[in-house]
Symmetry: C2
Amino acid sequence: MTRPRAAPAGVPIAEAAARTGLSIDALRYYERDGLLLRPVPRSATGHRRYSAADLRWVELLTRLRATGMPIRDMRRYAALVRAGAGNEAERLELMRAHRRLVLDRLAEVTEHLGAIEHKIGVYEDALAEAAEARRAASA
Amino acid sequence: MTRPRAAPAGVPIAEAAARTGLSIDALRYYERDGLLLRPVPRSATGHRRYSAADLRWVELLTRLRATGMPIRDMRRYAALVRAGAGNEAERLELMRAHRRLVLDRLAEVTEHLGAIEHKIGVYEDALAEAAEARRAASA
DNA sequence: GGTTGACCTGGAGTGCACTCCAGGGTCGAG
DNA sequence: CTCGACCCTGGAGTGCACTCCAGGTCAACC
């Protein structure tokens, strides 16, 4: 087997932060807050070592966060996953509810975006007209 | 002319709240914070009377908010509009920057949504398979 | 052996966008 | 004249999601 000495088995928190885009503080905060599936394993000196699975989970969390899921709900979801098999229906419900929310917000933002683009158009026209007026005056 | 007695000329804050979807407190907060184009005019008894123009402006603010513009930027924009004609280029720049932000966020959320839908699919499959197993067992 | 750097903990502090509250005025209905 | 509804002000409080800090451990390098 290719296991020379005791392998490191996981990356330190600084690298976990770099890979997930979260800050070191946020990673520790997530753990304290029960958002992770387990306490992150420690090295002999008490330093956290994030496994690939830990990182994948944190990445899922960042996706949920980026789509507006509150910490509270992520905690609930983490608790369900920690509880193990048997509550898939509940997890599915949670995810579906979140998708509804995201879709609704997406639609709302898109609609407001229309109004903003309209506003931009108005300014563009006004500025173009002003430029035209200057051109005419200087002629 | 159809002006029977002194017309009310504007709606009270409760109605402004109902129309804009903001709370009464939020409306007062926006005003204190310099987000409005002018101090809202008052009735003889000191109560605010929102004109149609005031309401239109607040509605624009809610659109900007709903698309994630921070209060600070709305204040800057309000200041530009208050300053009057001549800074249209700056206003346009502000709006364009905001549009960029909204489009970026929209793209990001849409991408994450894909991952979430995938997750939903996984749960759906798992649950369907479990149901199938139960059916087979009971047969 | 001293310094540096990465990490640890518990807890305090921050920024944002409201939200709530005490204390008070005005007005119309009963 | 009292009551309730509506509004006012200044200021304190809230919830969220971090972020920062003091004080400390440990390993490695000079």
